[in-house]
Amino acid sequence: MVAKKRTILIVDDEINLVQMVTDILEAEDFKVLPAYNADECLAALKKQKVDLILLDLMMPKVDGWMLHRKIKESKDWKDIPIIILTAKTDALDKNVGIEIAKVSAYLTKPFVPQDLVNKINEILNK
């Protein structure tokens, strides 16, 4: 089976963390695009089709929720599933994320890599 590689965009200002997630997802045969801030994220989205976005909440300047709204308000990108990947463990943030923002999943750092891979597969194969 030669399926087209799925593309995942990871948005996080932590360079090493982005690298780690990239390595792990590439081993699972995903194509991974890194973006270290909101501008890079939007630029990457304009350039190519993305199957899923991993989004950090706490980033300088434009934070995760603002970026999330921008993506969901655009008609080209509003159907891209988003997984929030954050160090915020507040139940409130999580509830806002799932119930109001309707994100596909909400993972808190530190997460087990296999959990992330499973979540991505689960969402993409829906």
């Binding site: 090493n16 780690m20 997630v21 390595d23 081993a27 706490m58 160090a87 890599p113 296999q114």
Partner: protein, 355 residues
């Protein structure tokens, strides 16, 4: 045996301290209102008596009226002054204390924000390290030699431990900024005990400790499952830490009256009576040499107390163990064992006591 009542600690203390100060020789306004007139009245009665009996020859009703009116007036004026003085002193003292309290609260907020920020900052690098370690352990990056796998496994375990400590720190710092909110879930206690046993078994086996559970069949309670799990597993973890090799630990869950009784008994080193209250304080460990030997953040039991408090329950520590408990534990009474028991009572239904 030390009792850890939950109602007598906490925020109430601050207010008590406020009202204690600002009094006249330890007397409150309400004392003064009757004590001052009483003293003045006695004084005038004596004066009256002396004057009438030793200095005047004739006693008239009008003189008596003059004396009593004079006495009452003086008593009234003196009382008003005393009350005014005490209220003013009290007010000043209260203002001082309130100011100190506000400053302390600000300091406490700073500390909590700091703790929460630090925990977040610690998490990000840990995520990366943990991610790579587990990634390599999954052998997706290639085969590992036996030694490499062993090293990585140890690194992975230590990452998990570090993560656990950070979670504890974060948990306790959020608790101080907002109260714990418990979910109302139906908990099957037999399953809960099994889960705890499964989680703790590797550690127990490593130390050769016999970990048993005894749960009355069919018991359920309504409380927050994650929090009750955290509560009991913290206590078992604590018991594992302070029990020597080949020791015994027993977890029993039973129903006593309207409460669920959870007991964690161990054949460990025990807790001296004068330290039994203190083990529930944050960061407290019985002594620093012990903490170096046994490790831990000293937050486990503080978290336990917070969970029990939020559930309107009670937790107490019993050490050394009485004979009956030693027998239940399966230890002969001639063995030289101190042991500790944590006895928790939680309401069967969280809602019934929260109302």
């Amino acid at each position: 045996m030390a009792k850890k009542k939950d109602a007598d600690t906490g925020t109430g203390n601050k207010d008590d301290r406020l009202s204690e100060k600002g009094t006249l020789a330890g007397l409150s306004v309400w004392h003064l209102i009757w004590i001052v007139p009483l003293i003045v009245a006695i004084f005038y009665a004596l004066w009256d008596f002396i004057e009438v009996h030793y200095f005047t020859t004739t006693e008239t009703t009008s003189m008596r009226i003059v004396y009593s009116v004079r006495g009452t007036t003086v008593a009234f004026v003196v009382t008003v002054f005393a009350v005014y003085y005490v209220l003013r002193a009290q007010n000043r003292q209260e203002q001082k204390l309130r100011k100190a309290l506000t400053e302390l609260q600000a300091l406490d907020d700073t500390k909590n924000n700091f703790l929460s920020n630090v925990s977040h900052e610690l998490r990000t690098p840990l995520t990366t390290i943990n991610g790579y370690v587990k990634f390599m352990l999954s052998k997706k990056t290639g085969e590992l030699s036996e030694n490499q796998e062993r090293y990585l496994r140890i690194m992975s375990e230590e990452c998990d431990r570090l993560q656990h400590h950070i979670e504890e720190l974060l948990f306790i710092s959020t608790l101080e900024s907002k109260p714990m909110v418990l979910k109302h879930q139906n908990i099957n206690l037999m399953e809960l005990a099994e889960k705890i046993k499964a989680r703790m078994r590797p550690k127990a086996e490593q130390k050769g400790i016999d970990l048993r559970t005894e749960v009355k069949p069919g018991l359920t309670m309504i409380n927050d499952e994650d929090r009750v799990f955290q509560l009991v597993s913290n206590l078992v973890d604590n018991a594992l830490k302070y029990t020597n090799e080949d020791g015994k630990i027993l977890l029993t869950i039973d129903k006593v009256g309207d409460d669920i009784e959870l007991r964690v008994t161990d054949s460990g080193i025990g807790i001296p009576p004068d330290k039994q209250e203190k083990v529930f304080e944050r960061f407290y460990q019985v002594d620093s040499s012990v903490s170096r030997k046994y490790g831990g953040t000293g937050l486990g039991l503080a978290i336990c107390r917070e969970i029990v408090r939020a559930s309107n329950g009670n937790i107490e520590v019993i050490s050394p163990l009485p004979k009956d408990s030693l027998k239940d534990l399966g230890v002969r009474s001639d063995e030289d064992i101190v042991g500790t028991m944590f006895d928790i009572r939680l309401p069967v239904n969280l809602a019934s006591k929260n109302g």
